[in-house]
């Protein structure tokens, strides 16, 4: 590769108007643009916290793709967005991303963590049921099933685990006694671990789950979940808010609980839902952790939580307006460069916090930028499951599909359904893998993308580097970066010419700008 003059590089880039100072953020102060912002900006002012600036388009396009569809924008998608002059392009992008198939893939993946969707141990759904359950969850998200109906179907369905997939909610638990089922329901729909509940209230909730029968059929691993009227009936149960309700022995008590849970009068159901969406998009809940609602764990922005909860109920439990409200806010669109530091700035979301990509997202991103595939299989149970190479990691249905890469990068085991099972904390072993493993190295050095870049570099080195930046980091390089690349090429390219492009791509992959959301 031979680089042309610096003048040409700068001239080439100035067309995009990109300099170091506007690389990650827009000039000027962030201003409130919607109802979330009015409340949050007031909270910042009150706490004396200075918010970050609004992120640049390059940061936004990457962030929106990663947060909304768990996927990197391609070089072409990034370029189209960056070159678009429409001031409303961010809102348009948000809308279009929510219509994509990957939106359903990604959010189904997150929901499957919560609902413990895996074949074997300690949750034993078994592969057929996992496929059916995952398919149902994904379809509910794709078709935008109202959230109250989603919850009701999971809690009250009866039938075969293969044919009525939501019954698997009551199978995806380590123990099937009423107390354990009640805990699973409270954790999923109230974000409450029940640790601070008095005994009588715990027992009272368990009553709603005390008449569930399970029976097998002639078909292997099929199981029917049903309301078993023959089981002893209690005449009353206690709701999480402390109210006692009378039960009709002819009625499935799960219905009574679901009626209370999804009633527009019940704030706790909607609060848990909106807080979890906020957590998934911003990396931290307004109530944190999002499955630990209790009176002594107050929200950091109570009025925002109130607003979102009311919005969800007003929208008849359509979650998409909540996504829209959050994603279009200045609060969400802040740059990752903090102007106030410390825990308070973090708790009040005064900058976008840097966090490692989810394991599956990282695997897909590495495949996308290198033009390669991952192959997954599951040896649990026999016969083995083989996943076709084109299948994306975010769309893997089964938490039992083994992958040392995904485990290394913190994919949750789906044992307890707690959101902190997904562990994106950095470890030395992860850095080793990304820096120096044959796995990542082969992808970068031998994948089809590298061949293409090398071909381009033969004709126009700067164009090739521009493509590399757009592909890996979703932005154009700065003059300083091009200078560094050119120097590297001059110093090391002569005798080891073939490796320079690989080293450059390697360096970009190993910069936090690639493997972290920012």
């Amino acid at each position: 590769m031979s680089a042309s003059t610096e003048g040409k590089a700068v001239g080439n880039l100035s067309a995009h108007g990109q300099t170091e100072s506007t690389l990650f953020e827009r000039a000027g102060e962030a201003a409130p643009v919607n109802r979330i912002d009015e409340l949050v900006f007031a909270a910042w002012a009150k706490a004396g916290v200075k918010p970050a600036r609004i992120c640049s388009d390059a940061v936004f396009v990457r962030r929106a793709y990663l947060d909304v569809i768990g996927s990197l924008p391609t070089a072409e998608e990034a370029r189209t967005f960056l070159d678009d002059k429409d001031p409303g392009k961010r809102a348009r992008l948000i809308e279009s991303l929510m219509q994509r198939e990957e939106f359903a893939d990604y959010w189904a993946m997150l929901w499957c963590d919560l609902l413990r969707v895996k074949s074997e141990f300690p949750i034993n759904l078994w592969p057929n049921a996992v496929q059916a359950y995952h398919h149902w969850i994904r379809a509910a998200i794709r078709d935008n099933m109202p959230y109250d109906r989603f919850a009701r179907e999971l809690l009250t369905s009866s039938g075969s685990n293969f044919r009525v997939p939501p019954v698997n909610f009551l199978r995806a638990v380590q123990n099937r006694d009423p107390a354990s089922l009640a805990k699973a329901a409270a954790q999923a729909f109230l974000g409450d671990r029940m640790t601070s509940w008095p005994k009588d209230r715990q027992d009272g909730l368990a009553v709603f789950f005390s008449r569930i029968g399970y029976k097998s059929t002639a078909e292997w691993k099929e199981e029917i979940v049903f309301f078993d009227a023959a089981m002893p009936a209690a005449d009353k149960a206690k709701l999480p808010d402390g109210k006692v309700v009378k039960l009709d022995p002819q009625q499935d008590p799960r219905q009574v609980f679901a009626d209370w849970l999804t009633s527009p009068k019940n704030d706790s159901f909607a609060r848990c839902a909106v807080n979890r969406v906020w957590y998934w998009l911003l990396g931290r809940g307004i109530v944190h952790e999002p499955d630990d609602f209790r009176s002594d764990n107050p929200p950091s922005l109570p009025r925002v939580l109130d607003l979102l909860q009311r919005e969800l109920i007003a929208a008849r439990f359509d979650l998409r307006p909540i996504y829209r409200l959050i994603l279009n806010s200045s609060t969400y669109q802040l740059s990752p460069v903090p102007r106030s530091r410390g825990p308070e700035a973090q708790q009040l979301f005064a900058y976008y916090s840097l966090r490692q990509l989810d394991a599956e997202v990282l695997a897909d991103a590495l495949c996308q930028i290198t033009g390669t595939h991952e192959e997954y299989s599951s040896s649990i149970p026999e016969p083995f499951t083989w996943v076709p190479p084109e299948h994306r990691s975010i769309a893997l249905p089964d938490g039992s599909i083994t992958s040392s890469f995904l485990e290394l990068f913190g994919r949750p085991p789906r044992d307890t359904g707690l959101l902190n099972e997904r562990n994106n904390a950095p470890t030395a072993a992860q850095r080793l893998h990304l820096l120096n493993s044959s796995h990542v190295r082969q992808k970068i050095e031998s994948g089809p993308t590298m061949r293409e870049w090398k071909r381009q570099a033969g004709r126009d080195a700067f164009k090739a580097m521009g493509e590399m930046y757009l592909t890996i980091l979703s932005r154009y390089p700065t003059p300083g970066e091009l200078q560094a690349l050119e120097t590297y090429d001059q110093d090391h390219g002569k005798d080891k010419g073939a490796n320079v492009m690989a080293d450059m791509a390697w360096a970009l992959v190993n910069s936090p700008e690639f493997f972290c959301r920012h």
Binding site: L418, Y488, D503, A507
Partner: protein, 447 residues
């Protein structure tokens, strides 16, 4: 009581015979054997510093290895009906393990292991955590617990993570349980029988140290976002992880994986195959202070073509494990290193001649064998017994918890010590499961 007394006397005799002149160097052992009152066992003096776990992934057949039943007839023994004697009087093992027969004075065979479960996942969990599944707590396995107590907080400062698995993670259950990512094993990847043993991430073939350094410099220059953000908790954590990684890539720590530093004779003795060289790599790691190494030895789930596979696998096991015991002993490491051999269960004693198994063995959790050596376990012993066909426990049932508690005692890990639970629940290293009223019974007869 009288039986215990007899065992105790025999213990002493065998211990002093085995140790020979070395007994003088270990006054402790002698004093304990004579001086301890029989009814109340003296607290064990922890001797073990490390564990090498030979994980027999899939479940090894107890009848074809350490619990032969020649009397049971060909429906049980198949072609392996001539057990061989060992270098310990009265102990016979499977005929395919002649080298291990010569090491029998170093290990104890537990022939009465039991948990009754025949599913890989559940059985793996039970055998390696000492708990039944269920409830909302997913317990960490022995490797994670040992690396928690004997790793960094016990002063281990090596760059190699304190819990290593050669070469692939087990995949059947989450090893770290609620302890989380930090206590997951570091999986080496690569193949130790190849040169070099390309430990994933540590050894990169064809990238010179110079190029590693050049690339690292380039990475620093191109970290535009990192430079813009500056000082932050997240970036500092990443920086820390990265410098540890470079310590392994560029420093001397990675040399532990360089098996070419061993003599050709020794490498041959271990067997020039993946398992044999994994044993050698495990020894080198333990020598360098790594407290827990799992050799994930795959291929033992032999439902079909069982005996054909045994003819291939058993000689490999025999050579690798026998050499490991001898080598650890030669280097004075066996006293401080527990070698633990076992899988999630045994295999069906009665051969399944019918289709589709055609002479295979299935899963068998009712009774199976484990082997322990070193680190304070007494060699040349047999604990418990299975019945005449190896189908039931006949004598002294040993549950996974009992064996795990014994290892913890030898490692000096208090079984009642708290473990850090993410939700602050009070969880101890080993406690009985709620439905289990049987007290934990450590293997005092071999400790």
């Amino acid at each position: 009581m009288s039986t215990k007394q007899t065992i105790s006397r025999r213990d002493f005799l065998q211990a002093s015979l085995a140790v020979g002149g070395g007994a003088m160097l270990m006054p402790h052992a002698t004093v304990r054997a004579w001086g301890a009152p029989v009814a109340t066992p003296t607290p064990i003096q922890p001797k073990a510093k490390a564990v090498i776990q030979i994980w027999m992934w899939g479940g090894p057949p107890h009848l074809d290895t350490f619990d032969p039943k020649p009397q049971a007839g060909s429906d049980y023994c198949g072609p392996f009906d001539k057990p061989i004697s060992t270098n310990v009087d009265g102990i016979m093992i499977g005929q395919m393990l002649p080298l291990l027969a010569q090491q029998a004075d170093k290990y104890a065979i537990i022939r009465s292991m039991t948990h009754g479960n025949n599913g890989h996942e559940t059985a793996s969990y039970m055998v390696q955590t000492g708990h039944k599944p269920g409830g909302r707590i997913v317990y960490p396995c022995v490797g994670a617990v040992v690396s928690y107590f004997k790793g960094y907080r016990a002063g281990y400062s090596g760059l190699i993570p304190p819990y290593v698995v050669i070469t692939q993670p087990q995949g059947r259950f989450s090893e770290a349980g609620f302890l989380g990512n930090k206590y997951k094993p570091f999986a080496t990847g690569g193949d130790p029988s190849k040169t070099p043993f390309a430990v994933e991430g540590v050894i990169a073939e064809g990238i010179s140290v110079e190029r590693q350094q050049n690339r690292r410099d380039l990475l620093g220059q191109l970290d535009t976002l990192g430079n813009a953000i500056g000082d932050s908790t997240e970036l500092n954590a990443l920086g820390q992880a990265q410098s540890e990684a470079y310590g392994l890539i560029l420093g001397d720590a990675g040399k532990v994986f360089d098996l070419s530093q061993e003599s050709k004779e020794l490498r041959d003795a271990y067997g020039r195959n993946k398992f044999g060289q994994a044993c050698l790599a495990a020894r080198r790691m333990v020598e360098n202070g790594v407290p827990y190494v799992t050799i994930n030895y795959q291929g033992w789930d032999t439902h079909k073509q069982h005996f054909q596979q045994m003819r291939r696998l058993l000689p490999e096991l025999d050579r690798g494990m026998a050499t490991l015991l001898q080598d650890l002993s030669d280097r004075g490491l066996l006293d401080s290193t527990i070698v633990w051999w076992g899988g999630e269960f045994g295999r069906t004693p009665k051969i399944l001649y019918e289709a589709p198994w055609d002479g295979g063995r299935s899963h068998y959790g009712k009774v199976f064998s484990d082997v322990v050596a070193g680190g304070g376990f007494k060699g040349g012993r047999v604990v418990g017994a299975s019945d005449e066909k190896g189908e039931n426990v006949k004598d002294r049932p040993v549950y996974p918890t009992d064996l795990i508690a014994s290892m913890y005692q030898l490692l000096g890990i208090d079984t009642n010590a708290p473990l850090p639970h993410p939700l602050g629940q009070d969880v101890r290293v080993l406690q009985n499961d709620a439905d289990d009223d049987r007290p934990i019974a450590p293997l005092t007869e071999i400790m």
